[in-house]
C-alpha cells in the first residue's frame, strides 16, 4: 500500500525529506556517472584511433601522388 497521502507528503517524508532525497539524489548521480564515464572514455579512444587512421590513409595518398 502506498504510504503517503499526497505528493507533498512524499516530498516531506515526515520531516526527513531533506536527508532521504539528498541521499537518493547524490547516490543516483554518482551511479549515473559510473555508467556514463566509461562509455565516454570508450568513444574517446575509438574517436582518436579513427582520426589517426584517416590521417595515415591521407598521408599515404599524398606520398603516393608525389612519386608520380
Amino acid at each position: 500500500m502506498f504510504q503517503f497521502d499526497s505528493f507533498q507528503a512524499l516530498v516531506a517524508m515526515g520531516g526527513h525529506g531533506f536527508y532521504v532525497w539528498i541521499s537518493y539524489g547524490v547516490s543516483l548521480a554518482v551511479m549515473a556517472w559510473l555508467v556514463i564515464s566509461p562509455l565516454k572514455r570508450k568513444r574517446q579512444v575509438l574517436g582518436n584511433l579513427k582520426r589517426q587512421q584517416r590521417r595515415t590513409v591521407a598521408d599515404g595518398r599524398r606520398t603516393g601522388e608525389a612519386s608520380y
Binding site: 532521504v20 551511479m31 555508467v35 587512421q53
Partner: protein, 249 residues
C-alpha cells in the same frame, strides 16, 4: 574444452570484449528493472520505521552500496592476485575500473550513512569502529587508484596496486566484525546468511530487490569500465584496428 583452454580464453581481452558486448543489453535491462522497482517500493510502499520514521528509507541505498563496496574489494584483490601470479592481462586491466567503482560505492555508503545518522543519532559523523573502518576502505581504494598514476611503467603500477589491494584485505574482516567487537553506535547486522533477518518482511523484501539491483549494477559498471580499458590498452592491436574499420565504413 579443458579448463586451461577456458582459462586462457577468459583471459583474452579480445574474447572478453566481444562476448561482453552481447551480455550488456540483458544486464542493463535487469539492472534498470530491479533498481526502479526497488526504489519505488522502498521510497513509497515500504512502511515507515516505528522509531526512525521515514529516514529509515535511506537503508535501501546505504546497505546495498556498503555490500558492494565490500564485495568489490574482493573482486579487486582477487583480480590483483591473478594478475600477479599468472600475469593474466584481463585481470590486470580489471583492477583500475574495480578500484574506481569501489571508491564510488564506499563514498555512497559513507555519504548516505552520514545523512541517515543526523536525524537518527543527532550527528553526521562519529569515529565509530564500523564507520572508521569503512573510511579506511575508501582510502585503500583511493590508494590503488593513485598508484596507477604514480608509476610511469604500467607493469610496476599494476604490481604495486595489486600488492596494496592484497595487503588491504586485512581490513575487510575488521569491517564485518566491527559492529560486534566494538559495540559503539552503528547497529549490528540485520541480515545474516545463517539466520533469519531481524527485519519485518515488508521492509526486508524491497531491500533484497535493491541488493540484487546493486549486484547487477556493479557487474554492468565493471564490464563497461573494463571494455573501455581494454580498447585503450589494446589500441595498437590488429583486432581493435579492424573494429574501427568496421565502424568507419
Amino acid at each position: 574444452m579443458t579448463f586451461t583452454q577456458w582459462f586462457h580464453r577468459l583471459g583474452s581481452p579480445r574474447w572478453f570484449y566481444q562476448a561482453s558486448g552481447k551480455w550488456l543489453p540483458w544486464l542493463a535491462a535487469a539492472t534498470l528493472i530491479l533498481l526502479v522497482a526497488g526504489l519505488v517500493w522502498g521510497l513509497g510502499f515500504a512502511p515507515a520505521d516505528a522509531k526512525q520514521g521515514n529516514s529509515f528509507r535511506i537503508i535501501y541505498i546505504h546497505v546495498p552500496a556498503a555490500f558492494l563496496a565490500l564485495a568489490g574489494y574482493y573482486v579487486m584483490a582477487v583480480a590483483g592476485a591473478i594478475g600477479l601470479i599468472w600475469k593474466m592481462k584481463l585481470a590486470e586491466m580489471a583492477m583500475r575500473p574495480a578500484a574506481t567503482l569501489g571508491a564510488a560505492l564506499t563514498f555512497i555508503s559513507l555519504f548516505t550513512g552520514a545523512l541517515w545518522g543526523k536525524p537518527t543519532w543527532g550527528t553526521y559523523w562519529v569515529w565509530d569502529a564500523r564507520i572508521t573502518s569503512m573510511l579506511v576502505l575508501f582510502f585503500l581504494y583511493l590508494g590503488v587508484i593513485a598508484l596507477h598514476y604514480a608509476y610511469t611503467s604500467r607493469d610496476a603500477a599494476t604490481r604495486a596496486g595489486a600488492v596494496l589491494a592484497l595487503v588491504g584485505t586485512v581490513n575487510i574482516p575488521i569491517i564485518y566484525k566491527s559492529v560486534d567487537w566494538w559495540y559503539t553506535l552503528h547497529q549490528p547486522a540485520t541480515i545474516k546468511l545463517t539466520e533469519a533477518p531481524t527485519m519485518h518482511p515488508a521492509m526486508f523484501q524491497p531491500l533484497v530487490v535493491m541488493i540484487l539491483g546493486f549486484y547487477c549494477f556493479y557487474a554492468l559498471a565493471l564490464i563497461l569500465g573494463l571494455r573501455a580499458e581494454i580498447l585503450h590498452r589494446e589500441r595498437r592491436t590488429r583486432w581493435v584496428r579492424e573494429l574501427i574499420g568496421e565502424d568507419a565504413v
